[in-house]
């Protein structure tokens, strides 16, 4: 079997194949629902309704999408430059820790000073978390997939240590949980009375900025060139290693904003379970968006919708929520396949 590149895929291929991928995902989801003893149409209907069926559902989905937009952007930025950052989870926790360190009473500043300071400190912490593995990569050729992945576990254990020690909430009755943020350190809600917080707004602004960097700035051009062909970029005189390091700072900072936004916007304190794998899910989000920053917003909302919808469906129909993971995994695989098939034709011999 061989792959033959297609010069001009045409509209039927570019639209038809992703649609077919989505259809395949729905079919597999239906089969799974059937396997769990539920009516597949009702199950899918409940997922859609749970994700977007009411104002509450929609806001819940957007809330869930917020950290995914940040981690998705972090992955998209890094992957475009071929910096394989699998450590968004660690960077997220680094940001969350900084939010708590500054926001739980250490600084008695007003909100308009405190929130930017927290965000900045969080982004810096995340950026530094990714800088280490990237220096190891550019200096010594250490594979960043391994280092960033393993750092996730180190970060989690480190946070666990903090929550049992210096950051432990004295009023927490022994739970591994940080003190609550002071009111000035909380991200306000976008509309009073509704659960959606300004973290979502920040995420949208970040997506627009990342798009601007990629499409309009000199640094964006360098990132893209280094990602597509580092050899040619170096020959052309680009500072390849410096571009890698700057990319790492941007990517780590974005991932850390997810942690800041979850703590300051949603949870109000730090626990070990603030991220149910947002760092990893960010990879799916970024890949589904083809690493396009504006696409990340759409795919993050889609992925969040599947999770939120599956949660609510599970309560109503009794199909396990794991169906959400399977649906997303299937969507990712079929989508990647569909994208490959728009660029290549499979030939025998």
């Amino acid at each position: 079997m061989r792959l033959e590149p297609i010069a001009d895929p045409g509209l039927t291929r570019t639209l038809g194949l992703p649609a077919a991928a989505l259809a395949l995902t729905v079919i597999i989801g239906s089969l799974l629902a059937l396997l769990a003893g539920a009516d597949p149409f009702a199950t899918l209907g409940l997922i859609v309704k749970g994700a977007a069926g009411s104002r509450f559902a929609i806001l819940e989905t957007l809330n869930r999408a917020t950290p995914l937009i940040f981690t998705g952007l972090a992955i998209a930025v890094a992957f475009r430059a071929r910096l394989w950052n699998i450590g968004a989870e660690a960077q997220l926790y680094a940001g969350a820790v900084m939010a708590v360190v500054l926001g739980a009473g250490a600084l008695g500043w007003p909100a308009y000073l405190l929130l930017p300071a927290m965000a900045l400190a969080a982004a810096l912490a995340g950026a530094l978390t990714l800088l280490g593995p990237t220096i190891l990569k550019t200096r010594f050729g250490v594979d960043e997939v391994v280092t960033t992945l393993l750092l996730n576990f180190i970060a989690l254990l480190f946070v666990s240590m903090l929550l049992e020690g210096p950051l432990k909430d004295p009023m927490g009755m022994g739970w591994p949980k940080s003190a609550r943020l002071i009111p000035e350190a909380r991200l306000p809600r976008i509309v009073e009375g509704l659960r959606l917080h300004w973290g979502f707004g920040l995420a949208l602004i970040s997506a627009a900025l990342v798009w601007l960097i990629g499409a309009r700035t000199t640094f964006g051009f360098e990132m893209c060139a280094v990602g597509r062909n580092a050899n040619a970029a170096a020959f052309a005189g680009m500072p390849v290693n410096a571009v890698m390091l700057k990319t790492a700072l941007l990517s780590g900072g974005l991932a850390a904003m997810a942690g800041f936004s979850e703590v300051a916007g949603l949870k109000g304190s730090l626990t070990l379970d603030i991220s149910p794998g947002f760092g990893y899910t960010g990879i799916i989000v970024a890949m589904l968006a083809l690493l396009n920053p504006l696409g990340v917003v759409v795919s993050a909302i889609f992925v969040a919708g599947v999770f939120v919808g599956a949660d609510s469906m599970s309560r109503a129909a009794g199909v396990p929520t794991y169906i959400a993971d399977i649906l997303l995994a299937t969507a990712l695989l079929t989508m990647v396949l569909a994208i490959m098939l728009t660029r290549f034709r499979v030939r025998r011999g």
Partner: protein
Amino acid sequence: MGGAAAVVLRLDRITKRFGKLTANDAISFELREGEVIALLGENGAGKTTLMNILFGHYTADAGGVELFGAPLPPGQPRAALAAGVGMVHQHFTLADNLTVTENILLGAEPLWRLRLGRGAARARIAQLSEDYGLKVARDARVGDLTVGERQRVEILKALYRDARILILDEPTAVLTPQETDALFATMRKAVARGLSVVFISHKLHEVMAISSRVLVLRHGRLVGEVKTAETDRHRLAELMVGAEVCAPRIVEGSEGAAHLTLERVTTPDRGSAPGLKRAALELRAGRITGLAGVSGNGQAALADLIAGLIGPTEGRLLIAGAEPAGWSPRAALGAGVARIPEDRLKTGAIADFTLTENAILETYHAPPFSRRGFMNWRAAADFARRIIERYDVRCPGPETPIRLLSGGNMQKLILGRALEATPRIVLANQPVRGLDIGAVAYVQEQLLAARARGAAVLLISEDLDEVMALSDVIHVISEGRLSPAFARGERSAAELGVWMAGDGFAERADAA
């Protein structure tokens, strides 16, 4: 033997398409016992595709292959091997860390035998190398051999497996003229013993020297089949390109100041590729300096040095007589070095980028393309359009990804990007490799035009004929050492060949 000899190989209307491209269009021919046929054609004419079909690497879309009267099952290299076809590829398929003997036995011996029949095998290899004039040290590690010796191992490997038909794919591209003569002697011995040889080449004089018949391919079609005795180089060239060929005209120019000087420069070795060894070189204004040599003898190190990718570990590199403060690709560009790299797709361009993006790849960071950290894409597109127009780049537009262009048009864009800054020094590393003849002529004209403008041009090529045709001054490189400069016409190809083999240097060392 003439027409009476048995047909050993028959290709019947072989057709192979890759997408829209027809690489082979209904090609038929016969190979007889004891003859050398030459398959002549430009790069991309379909020679290698055809042989890969014969050898089973590709399956044909239509048509069939018959070996010794029996049809060959398509797509099975093993079947071709078993039927007695031996192929020596352009890129060798040898294990560097094994000895010559082990390489020859590799795959020819059953895996489950604990003790290889080494004694008998060694005797047989000795006999074969004696019979065919393939001298090679049987116990040397292949990694330590020269390119010419490796090729002999490849041929021995095929003969050891009782090949009756030898396919040699551009075998002389990596050889000195002397090694080529030795290869031809081997081929003559082989046909005298009843073997048949398919000799693939685009070098006319070699085809004239060794073959009995010539098949000419152009754009995937068999456009001519002639007896070598009944044709001449001129006629073959016409068949090959489909038009009258004229060599570039060189007008005598005047020599100017030294724009770039190397003083006893040494650079580190990289793996098996040698670095420069105390190399001295002067690139003068209004001169094309040619660098001849067998590939892998330090050309890459010299090119990387002048391109700014590496610096000298010993000795000095001077730009217009002064040592530059730092040496990097940007420093080289700033010093007026235009760079045409050896590998268009790996180093010269970013395949997925548009023509616009590739056009500004070296200058993107300065005005008018970049101001205060933001790109001015309109200025970039204007610049790309200017290059497309001036250098005749055939493309749908500046927003086309460059990977969709032909090699020639890609090279024109890279050439335009390099020459648009009116450089003082032009580094052209294998600038016409893989291009069709029209693009070759264009690139060579542009290099000559740069010379006429007063640029100092360094032309690195493995094609000795090209170097001799274009250069005012020739250096030969061998194992990182540079020969003294020879003026145009001072040395014959054979004399340069002695240097390419590394022999002239020893004499000089003795004399010194």
